[in-house]
Amino acid sequence: MAVDVDKRENMRMEMNKQTNNPDCSTASVSLLNKFDTNEIMNCMQCGFCLPSCPTYRQTGKEVASPRGRIALMKGVAQEALQVDQEFENNMYLCLGCRACETACPAGVPYGSLVETAREVVETNKKERSKSPFIRDIVFNKIFKHPKRIDTLGTALWAAQAAGLQTLADKTGLVNVLPRPMAEMQKAVEKVASPAERKKRQKIVKPTDQTAKLRIGMFKGCIMDVMFYETNQATSRVLAKAGCEVIFVEDQACCGALHAHSGEKDGAVELAKRNIEAFEKANVDFIVNNAGGCGAALKEYHHWFHDDLEWKERALAFVAKTRDANELLAELPQIEFKNSFDVRVTYQDSCHLAHGQGVRNQPRQLIRSIPGVEYIEMINADSCCGSAGIYNITNFDMSMRILDDKMKNVKQTKAHLIVTSNPGCLLQMKQGIIRAGMQNEMEAIHIMDLLDRAL
């Protein structure tokens, strides 16, 4: 039998080779070495990850599952498959929510595998041609430069202040925008004005004056523009819990967007800048309030495999890094003054729950607010479909996932849906609009909710 079958197989593979698109070059050897073959081999294809994967649940197709994507990486590493457009699409259909890592009994670090796969895709593209214009603008011209993000924020504020958004809504100008952008902009709240942002105190003193801890606030890039108020709220909540909060100068974007998009060099550059900035600040803890950023910050040491000096500095940075929920849960319970008579549910941030293992703390904090009735949502820890810029790059899939999520949200009959990540917050706001529930429900970041109760 073996001989027969082998012959047929050889024939089939020859056919496959011939039918492959000749335009797509096979990745160079140096590229393939980027894959951690041992980690790929550790996937034993048991399939336990399948039910946890949002894109597999939507499509029912193996190619859209973690097991399938790892198999494709193995195929590429063994040069049975090419790094072509199809491989690229499959790697980017993944939300990077890492729910599969929670489900995987073999402990396969899927998140870093898919990051490597995207790095291979991007490097391969760069080897073939110059990087696309838009990508270059986004990753090199904007996100590496905090000042430019700030400028964008000002532009956004100006547009909103001038009523352009309303005008665009009314005149149908939004229809000129690409559909993802047009839908998204409805969910964007008014951003803080440049004047307001300038007024920020660099140091927020603890409420009872005796600082127990010195905290360096990691602001985030988009977070600090679009959710400036949430950062302010976080500092007030931490101050109430007895912390001195410092908005550390010279910090940059965390680099997660770069890492998730295969721009490893850019990610490393940003990580170095942050490590330096917080070293100078001499703080007890580095606190962030965005699950996505937090997961990246806590994995900095993985980004410096071959650089021992930086790896050591990264490890020290990681040891101090906490999500705001995580730190607050370790501090004495805050006494809230305000009481609400509301029903509240919580949508996990994937990178907080699956990436950082922070699940109970936010729920405990919500429950500690007087008057709150907490209700757990079905599949609260499955991705909402936001996933960084996924809701722009994979709009249709993102909305399918979101609409399914909203069915579970609706079932809770909650007045407030609480999130711990800016991307999730925007997505939930959009979901509320899509489900027509604007009058029944509000989406809110957990730090804003806690701040309201102070």
Partner: protein
């Protein structure tokens, strides 16, 4: 497969559900069985029995192999398309049709996930006992095709004990209905039972009617730890001999305990040589009585510690730890080859000893866990598929393990099926007359031999095709060579 055939298939299921790009084919070239891989020519995802009938007609006309597949969690290479052809992915046929509380049956399509069946029937106080380790993702169609077992096999049996009726499509496109809801039904041959465990080699199952039981009132979990492997095995024998049938009686050896603890962090004592996880269900009086007696037996046979789960959660976490044993073992080495040797319960201790002897002889790391109460052991070899020399020793070791099982009155597979992995050993178990009658049954259903070819029946006996990398990874020749060596 030529363009006309592809177009025909595409017109049956629609553009979105006919897959044939390189990536799409590649991800259906494997299942959960390590070392086996082969490319299909197309993947088709039908949504109805009519579509399947139409696909089967096309396949019969052009003699194209059909490999039906659920979630691809099987461990015998059962869904690897070793001769190419069409992979028929059944997960869109996933309607739950009925729970008949008067007749105590449930009827559903094959793509329903096993754990969802449990949830649905338990919600109305009923019980579907088979619970394979993969139940969170495996489909009922796959369970029926492979006759899946699970941890409750000791008291409740396996899938075939619960399947009462089936609808299936034959290779020529005819739709067959067998069995039904009758508790007693002896009209003619029992084709229902024949199809259960037929591993996709006879027909494509499209609807399933399963028998349900009343949900047991309560259950209790206990664990016993041992300094000596054979003490544990003897405890199992004594429990059964004392006429107690627990719902679950699982066995983990030390190496398995270490990796499970590393994954689940439930506080297993890692200096122990073996542990038993025992669960009894039923009325609270009966459960209490049985658990107390089993605890006494375990102590008398040398258990160093016997502990009751204090809460339902604690019990569930112990069972979950056992469920994850196989996947957790995968952390240790890149390739995890799990086998399924089974012996009559009374020979359990002898079988465990045999496995350990064989492991030593071939210098291999073999962890053993399994459904001790069923005599169903999963000796699991931790190896690396890139080490060709070691893989060769793995083959020889498992060959000896199977011979040992047969010698002890056992069988080559207790619950995983024959598939490709054990095709070369089937004649050891059923003999030449058994092989002949099985082949003739196969011909009656499938005259052109298109149904999951290369499974169950080896073309030549006593040769184990461990690796068939038809995936273009450049390994085919080496493996062919390896096979010749293994051939005696």
């Amino acid at each position: 497969m030529n363009q006309n055939i592809k177009n025909e298939l595409r017109s049956i299921v629609g553009r979105d559900y006919f897959l044939d790009t390189p990536n799409e084919l590649y991800v259906y070239s494997y299942d959960a069985t390590p070392l086996y891989q082969a490319m299909p020519d197309a993947v088709v995802i039908p949504s109805s029995v009519e579509e399947i009938a139409a696909i089967m007609k096309v396949a019969s006309q052009h003699r194209i192999p059909i490999v039906s597949r659920g979630s691809g969690t099987n461990l015998c290479g059962g869904t690897v398309p070793v001769e190419g052809g069409i992979v028929l992915n059944m997960n869109r046929l996933n309607a739950f049709k009925e729970i008949d509380q008067d007749n105590l049956t449930a009827t559903f399509e094959p793509g329903v996930i096993t754990a969802d069946v449990h949830k649905a029937v338990e919600a109305v106080g009923l019980f579907y006992p088979p619970d394979p380790g993969s139940m969170r993702i495996s489909t009922m169609g796959g369970n029926v095709a492979e006759c899946a077992g699970g941890m409750r096999g000791l008291k409740y049996g396996v899938t075939k004990d619960y399947i009462m009726g089936l609808e299936a499509v034959l290779p020529n496109g005819d739709i067959l209905r067998v069995g039904g809801k009758n508790a007693k039904d002896v009209a003619g041959y029992d084709v229902t039972k024949l199809l259960v465990g037929s591993e996709g080699t006879l027909a494509v199952i499209t609807e399933i009617t399963a028998k349900l039981l009343p949900l047991p009132e309560t259950k209790q979990t206990m664990v016993a730890y041992y300094n000596d492997l054979t003490d544990a095995a003897r405890s199992v024998q004594r429990i059964i001999a004392s006429k107690i049938i627990p719902a679950t009686l699982e066995f983990l050896d030390q190496e398995t305990m270490i990796v499970v603890e590393d994954f689940a962090h439930i506080g297993l004592p890692l200096d122990m040589k073996a542990m038993l996880i025992i669960e009894q269900d039923g009325t609270s009086l009966q459960v209490e009585h049985d658990i107390a007696r089993m605890a006494d037996i375990c102590r008398a046979e040398g258990a160093t510690e016997v502990r009751m789960a204090q809460t339902a959660e604690e019990g569930a976490s112990l069972m979950a730890a056992r469920r994850s044993a196989l996947s957790a073992l995968a952390r240790v080495k890149p390739t995890t080859i799990l086998e399924d040797a089974t012996v009559p319960r009374a020979n359990l201790a002898a079988m465990v000893e045999q496995v350990n002897l064989v492991a030593k002889k071939y210098d291999l790391q073999i962890c053993t866990f399994g459904h001790a109460g069923d005599g169903n052991l999963h000796p699991t070899c931790l190896t690396d598929e890139r080490d060709k020399e070691e893989i060769h020793r793995v083959e020889q070791a498992f060959e000896e393990i199977f011979h040992a099982a047969i010698k002890l009155g056992g069988t080559i597979t207790g619950e995983h099926g024959v598939g490709m992995a054990k095709a070369d050993y089937l004649d050891l178990k059923v003999g030449p007359v058994g092989m002949d009658i099985m082949r003739r049954i196969k011909e009656a259903f499938d005259p052109y031999g298109i149904m999951n070819p290369g499974k169950i029946f080896a073309k030549s006996s006593r040769r184990r095709v461990v690796v068939n990398h038809g995936c273009g990874c450049g390994q085919t020749r080496e493996h062919a060579h390896g096979n010749e060596q293994a051939d005696k």
